[in-house]
Assembly symmetry: C2
Homo-oligomer: 187 residues x 2
Amino acid sequence: MTAQRRSDGTRAAILTAARERFAADGFERATIRAIAADANIDPSLVMRYYGNKEKLFAAAAEFDLRLPDMALVPADRHGAVLVEHFLDRWAGDETLLALIRAAVSHEAAAERMRTIFAAQVGPVAARLAPDPATAATRAGLIATQILGFALCRFVLRLPPIVALDRDAAVAWLAPTVQRYLYDTPGH
Amino acid sequence: MTAQRRSDGTRAAILTAARERFAADGFERATIRAIAADANIDPSLVMRYYGNKEKLFAAAAEFDLRLPDMALVPADRHGAVLVEHFLDRWAGDETLLALIRAAVSHEAAAERMRTIFAAQVGPVAARLAPDPATAATRAGLIATQILGFALCRFVLRLPPIVALDRDAAVAWLAPTVQRYLYDTPGH
DNA sequence: TATCGTTGTCAACAAGTGTTGGCAAACGAG
DNA sequence: CTCGTTTGCCAACACTTGTTGACAACGATA
């Protein structure tokens, strides 16, 4: 077990404030000073505990999608369950929002995003796809729809997308994801 | 007709350099100095001709999707034609990339993005959708898929999405857009 | 040629950035 | 209690940013 330090509370406060700021402002506009102010401490403490801004972001952007076990779900509901899970995960943790905002103009964040999807969505697709060779493509396509939805809803705030409630969003997106999982394209 | 000015060449060079920088770096990391250097002029000229960075971006982010007339296309090809058009438009003009990169952390750019999709995609959906009341939602859904694809391909550079050639991308995405245009969700 | 608006350069400002080092107080072990 | 370590604050650094104003070369017009 890791030893308790007297500063653990401060460390956690910094991390929370950092996630909020990165999520709201992106990497460059989220300043160390603003994060420190939110955490009610001095900016220099951020440096002491996290080294530099880059490492602070790396620590704040740690993320686990916690994808459910698809073996327990009927095959025709796989798309719906994935969409529901993503929506909930997104609403309940601002880390993903911080990640997408930062990834757009920050290569390290983009790399993190690639890793998350390759390492966490990839295996799910690999287990379900009819032809395992197409798994990476299918995982990528799911990412385009899920990230695109998050982009339009949480970042760009397109009014008709913001207006959708959870059920409507699932009803629209689930067939798309289902198709990316199982269909073979052709016309 | 607008009068010719001796500085028109410089103005155009600034605009081109601005688009490149905004597309590559986003709003904040694209500096006036870098743009001026690319255009081989002094940074102060940028201010003289465009007022400030905000207005320069507004000028650089002027964009017309040039959506084709869907009345000339068979109904079952609408999704495919839209996807093809978006892909070509995206590949041929970095303005859209600049817009998406900037929109993520810059409210004015996000507003521009909302306007473009509401004013240009909205009417197309309104003309095609079975129920006009659902047109805005359908246009928004199309935006989620198209922007999500662009995000993953050009910004995040997800390998499996970068690897898709034009035909494969169209084959995968067209049915999604077609469904967002015409289907009524339910299960 | 003399004049005036245009085009461009140079140097500087004020503000904000990440980051560093020193110093005081609080704490825990001996 | 005493001493070394941890925690925190303050002031400052080196640098970059958008932006401004003064000034020199140029071009057309009179």
